[in-house]
Amino acid sequence: MRKGYFGDFGGRFAPELLMPPLLELEEAMDRIMTSAAFQEEFTNLLRHYVGRPTALYRCDNLSKELDFGLWLKREDLAHTGAHKINNTVGQALLAKHMGKTRLVAETGAGQHGVATATAAALLGLECIVYMGATDVVRQAHNVQRMELLGAQVRPVQSGSQTLKDAINAAMRHWIAKQADTHYCLGSAVGPHPFPLLVRELQSIIGREALEQFQSRTGKLPEQVVACVGGGSNAIGMFHAFVTHRQTALVGVEAAGEGSVDCFHSATLNKGTPGVLHGCKTKLLQTADGQIMPSHSLAPGLDYPGVGPEHAHLQAQGRAKYVSVTDSQALKAFLRLAKTEGILAALESSHALAHVLSLAQTLPVSTDVVVCLSGRGDKDLGIVREALRKG
């Protein structure tokens, strides 16, 4: 396999001015992240600060209704309420070891921005977060959280003023300030080595889930399911299982409103190969190669690209990618809340919705583990609005 590639996908399509910091980061991954000192410090932070291992919970009530076993890997119980913190604490620690004094990050809805601001505060780093101007208005409470954590939030006025433009702005910032700044990219996307780095830091999710499941049941789950926007919780969940071929891997994308022409974020299902934000992957794009706007009720799935390793797992047939509409995700959100007492993030509710659709279709002995990537408190406004519209 070519360096930095997953099959045909990945690579490093970045301006030459970004090559030195990308090579520096790659070197730091090899040298610093593999060291015993880094690993010990990181493991300690994950345990005592992030709150790992997160629980693996068997949903007894829902399992009864579904006629198979439903398990949740509870990333919503991690500090800041989502899996994002695994990545930001790891990258912030790496940045500190590299001698960087500042983190720059992009954020869509604000979850990765909050997680970056948190890790920066913890490790004494400055933090600048680029956020699309539209998102700054839509997600005002997350802007406030980031500011309380000491980060500077910079609204991005260019392009569609959403996540993809925030990534452009963060990359531009990094070009100019690379000497003292680390770009803390929030998903398993971007130029090499980011997809690898983010997978490395998120793969704790799947390692824990595999071990927890095995020690309680003595077997492997038949299916592992996770939502996919950029795909960091999914690649983190899948990675430990990839070599265990008896476990099916299922990624769930956002089909948006579900009609044929509407905007959605189902990149792997409906996209085509191309190059965006430094990597070759599947994209929502026009025939001319212009990037199209994406949409999802779940802000964290709203991205017109996807991590290159997912494109590869799909091409190989190792993972299957399906899609779920806004309204299916909303129903799953409500059902989990009422039957299990858990408010899941709308992103994670997509993964759950797919599994709920399998009710009565699987053998009773089947066990399905869903990555519950985040908590739903952040989505109450969206849910209220969606319910009002009916």
Binding site: P15, E16, L17, G159, D165, R172, A176, D288
Partner: protein, 260 residues
């Protein structure tokens, strides 16, 4: 047309006692008709190489002025096919060398082999892909070279001597030196370290060296005059068009002898 056409254009300008002038304009800016008038005017007023920007929705190496101009072009329906069709009709009347400058994805979706064949037939002399560094460019460089089109390399202040040498071994046409650690857009002052960096690049490359990003006035070259063979002006040209409605006078400060 050969792979050396761009090099020859630059040498010709130098032999006239001035820098090679390389204006950049996004295709279809400010509108589809005016664009080709501006290209003709630039050609008549002394441009040696004209860089036609191929607009992309996510131009990560560009500042606000170029990005906004590119988005405006996209809104008007500009795409690579339109650029090549229109250029094909006009190429014989343009004396300057022609370079297409853009980002990987629109080129990739058009089809690289189809692009190489079409561009070669039309008389495009070079291609600049802002998000295609050395390691990803190997096959593409070969493809275009075989069609007589130079894939222009971009290097900058943070490019090590080792990487400069790797680029030098593979590059043709000219090398595009990015003057600042940042994106396109006019700057009042160029960085202090530019002088040394250019000297280093000069020793390593045998092909001409063009400076771009941030340029708006020959005065900016005072300390680095000897190290530069050509100058690229993009954002300053867009601003000039915005302010005056045309390109009259834009190249004048650069065509006088003292700028060379």
């Amino acid at each position: 047309m050969t792979i050396n056409t761009l090099t020859e254009k630059i040498h010709k300008a130098l032999s006239l006692g001035r820098k090679a002038l390389m204006p950049y304009l996004p295709a279809g800016y400010p509108d589809k008709d005016a664009f080709w008038r501006h290209i003709a005017d630039l050609d008549h007023s002394g441009a040696d190489i004209i860089e036609i920007g191929v607009p992309f929705s996510d131009p990560v190496a560009d500042g606000t002025i170029v990005e906004q101009a590119a988005l405006r072009c996209l809104e008007q329906g500009v795409n690579l096919q339109w650029i090549l069709d229109e250029l094909a009709m006009r190429r014989s009347s343009i004396r300057a060398g022609i370079v297409l400058m853009g980002y990987m994805n629109p080129f990739l979706q058009f089809g690289l082999e189809r692009l190489a064949a079409t561009a070669s037939r039309i008389g495009v002399n070079g291609l600049i892909i802002a998000d295609l560094p050395l390691e990803e460019a190997l096959d593409i460089r070969k493809l275009f070279r075989e069609c007589g089109i130079a894939l222009i390399s971009l290097v900058g202040l943070n490019t090590s001597a080792e990487r400069l040498r790797l680029y030098a071994r593979r590059s043709e046409g000219f090398v595009y030196f990015v003057s600042v650690m940042g994106v396109t857009g006019e700057r009042d002052a160029l960085p202090m370290e530019l002088q040394n960096a250019l000297r280093k690049a000069r020793e390593i490359f045998s092909i001409p060296l063009a400076l771009g990003f941030g340029l708006h006035s020959p005065a900016q070259l005072t300390k680095i005059n000897d190290a530069v063979d050509g100058v690229v002006m993009g954002s300053s040209l867009i601003r000039h068009i915005q302010e005056s409605g045309g390109i009259d006078g834009f190249l004048t400060p650069w065509t006088s002898k003292q700028a060379g």
